[in-house]
Symmetry: C2
Subunit: 134 residues, 2 copies
């Protein structure tokens, strides 16, 4: 039997244009960079115990890095929890940033999702409530 997993420490999103990708997560989503952006990627602190990492798959997948190689192509998905009372502010902030909303979903369990795309085409969801079974 395995010991418990405490939580997700690193969530990864991939994209080739790192400047544009990092600008989206920093400026549009307001996430906090904890190291300078470079050609390999970018690191944002989401909460005290969790990180969002951005990687260029062409660089992160090269062999001979100090850690195991990885890298995906295609459109990934990530959902960020936001406060229920912040949805109107989010719509205004996205509009001000020129980011169009792809879809909104009102969930049966009571939550609400706003879906946008980051500059690499990844599906980014801003969600209120807890949509999945406990």
């Amino acid at each position: 039997v395995s010991p418990p997993v405490v939580g997700v420490y690193e969530t990864v999103v991939y994209g080739r244009d790192m400047e544009a990708l990092a600008a989206f997560y920093r400026e549009v989503l307001g996430l906090r960079l904890v190291e300078p952006v470079d050609e390999l990627g970018a690191a944002f602190r989401i909460a005290d115990d969790a990180m969002l990492l951005l990687f260029d798959p062409a660089r992160a997948s090269l062999p001979g890095r100090p850690v195991p190689s990885h890298g995906t192509t295609g459109e990934g998905h990530i959902a960020f929890a936001v406060a229920a009372e912040s949805l109107d502010e989010w719509r205004a902030a996205l509009a001000a940033a020129g980011v169009s909303i792809e879809q909104e979903v009102e969930w049966g369990r009571g939550g609400h999702s706003i879906y946008v795309r980051d500059p690499a085409g990844n599906s980014v969801e801003l969600v209120t409530g807890d949509l999945w079974p406990p």
Copy 2:
């Protein structure tokens, strides 16, 4: 200015063989399934406020789903936080499950990582401590 992001609610890992992929996260990592596995994917609750979702990219990327399409190919990456005192138990649990350790890294900041691959080739890290700047 955007309202605050509270945390990452959904982290996604992709793979084509959903039975094998879900079995790895359920049986080897001990994560808790909250819905039955189907051909599209699987949903695990990591902590009260966070989910790990598995998707078959060939199905999740199809148009006409009730939510925006997404799906990646290639090897992704995810890191799970584990307790520092559980590393020996993890090594034993991985060995018992026939999962080989690809690499271990002792970090300068004091943490330690064990890297394995899931059945789809994604790089899965079990990490103690907080490796990134605060």
